[in-house]
Symmetry: C2
Subunit: 526 residues, 2 copies
């Protein structure tokens, strides 16, 4: 879905273009050429302004060339402005920037016109690091060798440059008009981008090398922007709470509303943030892989060939499904799995324990070396000409993920003395959030039993949050506020947590009072 | 004379060294490694702190190496601090810096211990640009070709590196402990150092490329400091009022006292600043060359071989003199010339018009193709075995300089509605200031007829002012205040000025009431 910036943003871009006619020098007004420009900038509210000493000749020459009519490009650096460029004369140039959603699976690029706060183009590409590990832990292990770490960084930067250049070409724009790049990614991806070893991120006590990056020259990473373009990487709060989540919060405006909201981003981990304008609490846990479709035998990402929607006929137990890309089925993605398990449960195929009901006689329930399994798609319907089965083992793995998710939601909500009922908004972010059907999530006991209108799937809020920093520099204050405000809770594995988890392994839960809307089918009760 | 820092400076160096034991990370305190250091720095008053993104790996590794005991080096950047270096463990390292008096003839280097506010070593070398022009105007013309401009810059930087390395070697210090270089020079020299074309400086309306330089990495100029050492160039106020004068003001504390003071720096130009803590007015004029010894036939700089003191026996008119370095005479420097002219006048050799009295019969007064001349040193006393003469032509040139100086002083003082009597302090800065005898200056009508105790010759106040910025960063506020406060007056050549100048061409002046202490010798009246 196309990126839409929130309506409440201010039109105060990270990079400003200012045309100015300077009073020509005279004996009575004999300050230096560059000081003359800086004086004018100050009168327009830009102060203090710094400039790169190596560029003084170039910048000052433009002032003379334009006979004291100049167009200055200024980059925001939190505590000062940087004079990025000076053009001779009055120039109506575009001020472009890229916002990047640096995901571990896919990367979303957005080309923006900063002056108009407009998205000009968007494009998404796979994260090229996938070659060295689908999941991020494999990449972290791979990166232990310094040359591998450098390789992972180079893969990212090459993909950045390639994609950015292609998008610019398609739009007929020049890289010299790109003055800023804002990037949001999880903590590990941010480390990879910066060439930092993320080794300590995945071992207790889970410490990143750095959370808060300064705004710095994009040229430091050899990005193909204007030579003095800026790069801004959204800060992390912790190893499992990265700039991507900060971007989510910004895009949703979680930190600006009185309403109590919860935001869940399911990626490799499930990351959760809960709060409102006054406080924010966050945690993360390993709920993701199975939900993302990464662990289950025939699981896959939500790409063409993946079954993303499933319904099961209550009478004949026959499945009907939708395949992304409309071709034959190759596997099943997270939202498909949730549908499938929910439908299997609601049609009585699964018991509350998540076992396939032995009493059912159906050609769709077959025996395998892994025990009984349900045929989601048969040989004629799959790409590889094999039955697409879901076994009890697959289901067991999946239930652990859904139980982990529900446990995390329970623990974090209870931690602040609240109940699910208190939540006015439940945002589901990430690729997952675009596909998941909350009703199905409730039926399997993964999501709390809230009114359906409470749930809201989000588009690319990560890209959106990054884009917001480009078009509205007051967002930096929001970011600072959010980072200060957030209490990040590391979920210690303890008895309470394990009890919660075990109860959530059932469908929908051992305590049916928690899911009043879910009517457990009678067949499974038998 | 050795550099002495004023007693009123604060011990708040531009670069700070801070040893810190960070709390080790835990699940409850899981911020990033570098953020952990930054948090500790903030608790110690250093905020905001930026760090170079390319150094994150290195800086963070030191924190782990030191097991969270670290020594941080922080550089002051006016609106933020820069994390220059992190050493593992507690390190008692020196924090060194160089202060440089970037003169057009000589360059003074001072190696300082910033923590102790101590000058460790000092060394002075000729400005290597002299090869391409003794006077600065020749160099400006030479620099019109870009490659010559680059050559002039390289000459300076090579000399900087050579001198700094030699001084460090002699002191057994390492360049990696040099974290800052502060440089004060006139506007043209600052331009040369930065590789900026000073062409506009010497033509109306006399506009420098830039007056205010940001603090920037010394590595930008390839100076042999710590790789992330800082470079600070004192700002200029105008083309003829450079960072050297700002340094003078700082060193003298002109801007901090209630007393009305005047400060004169005689170099290529005579630069004058007048004022107190409430206001400052400045101007400059071409009074210098002859006073510096640069134009008179046998004139020379105050280097070995130069006659710097002269007395003349009132009876036999025989000169006695002092030669710098105690060898034979090679020429005569500025202070020697002032003495000589004053003594010639007081002994009746010169008329009030500055002509050699024809009536005098003396073997010391000889005829030359340039007219009559006085023998200051004879063939036996000079290096080249030739008489060292001063001719009427020389004297005429010199009188123009002294008249220009007196005119400037008159005009600037009158401009603010004051009289010389109002001046409580009269500082004479520059190499010249160390040698000039105010009594002699008064006798020739170059300096106003004030009580001698009003006059104070200064040492290397330029180097001192630069050094002050290294050991006391609050000086940056002083600099900002001075730059804002100073009214720089461009002296327009007009009728009033020309009349003043013509009157001042006489010895001591056409109006003897201005010099009541100077008793004009009767012989010259005859």
């Amino acid at each position: 879905m196309p990126l839409t910036l929130p309506s409440w943003i201010n039109r105060q871009p990270m990079v400003e273009l200012l045309a100015s006619e300077l009073p020509p020098p005279s004996l009575d007004d004999n300050i230096g050429d560059l000081d003359r420009l800086l004086r004018a900038l100050k009168q327009n509210g830009f102060s203090p302004v710094r400039f790169p000493p190596s560029q003084i000749n170039h910048l000052a020459r433009q002032i003379r060339l334009g006979q004291f009519k100049v167009t200055a490009v200024l980059g925001y650096h939190l505590c000062h402005w940087e004079l990025i460029e000076v053009y001779a004369g009055f120039e109506k140039r575009p001020v472009l920037g890229f916002a990047v959603d640096l995901g571990s699976s896919r990367m979303g690029f957005y080309l923006l016109d900063l002056q108009r706060a407009e998205v000009l183009a968007e494009h998404s590409v796979p994260n090229p690091q996938i070659l060295h590990g689908e999941d991020i832990l494999t990449r972290i292990l791979f990166a232990r060798k310094p040359r591998n770490l450098r390789l992972l960084q180079r893969l990212l930067l090459d993909a950045f440059n390639h994609t950015m250049q292609q998008m610019l070409k398609e739009m007929g724009c020049s890289y010299t008009d790109v003055y800023a790049v804002a990037i949001a990614g999880n903590t590990t991806m941010s480390h990879f981008l910066m060439g930092l070893n993320p080794a300590n991120i995945c071992k207790e006590p889970y410490i990143p090398t750095v959370n808060q990056f300064p705004i710095f020259p994009a040229a430091d990473l050899k990005l193909a922007t204007h030579p003095r373009g800026l790069l801004y990487l959204l800060p992390n709060v912790g190893s499992y709470f990265g700039g991507d989540l900060i971007a989510d919060i910004l895009a949703v405006g979680l930190h600006r509303t009185d309403e109590l909201s919860i935001l869940v981003d399911v990626g490799t981990n499930a990351e959760v943030v809960l709060g409102n304008r006054d406080w924010l609490i966050a945690c993360a846990g390993a709920a993701g892989p199975a939900l993302e479709g990464g662990v289950v035998e025939r699981g896959m990402m939500a790409v063409p060939g993946a079954i993303d929607r499933v319904r099961i006929d209550r009478d004949n137990l026959k499945p009907s499904y939708h395949v992304l890309g409309e071709g034959k089925a190759a596997g099943i993605c997270g939202s498909g799995l949730i549908d499938l398990i929910a439908e299997m449960f609601m049609s009585g195929i699964l018991t509350v324990q998540g076992k396939i009901t032995r009493e059912i006689r159906s050609p769709l329930i077959v025996d395998t070396p892994d025990g009984p399994a349900y045929v989601v798609a048969n040989v004629a319907e799959t790409i590889d000409g094999q039955d697409l089965l879901i076994s009890e083992i697959d289901i067991g793995i999946f239930l652990k993920s859904k139980a982990a998710m529900y446990t995390i939601l329970t623990v974090i909500t209870r931690k602040v003395g609240l109940r699910f009922d208190d939540l006015k908004r439940f945002y589901v972010a990430g690729a997952f959030g675009n596909y998941i059907d909350p009703l199905m999530g409730i039926k399997i006991g993964m999501l709390p039993d809230l009114p359906l209108e409470t749930y809201q799937g989000l588009g690319d809020t990560v890209g959106c949050g990054a884009a917001m920093t480009l078009v509205d520099r007051t967002i930096f204050q929001d970011i600072e506020k959010v980072c200060k405000q957030i209490t990040y809770v590391e979920l210690n594995v303890n008895v309470e947590l394990m009890n919660e988890f075990r109860a959530a392994l059932f469908l929908p839960h051992t305590d049916p009072r928690l899911f009043p809307s879910v009517r457990v089918p009678t067949r499974t009760l038998g």
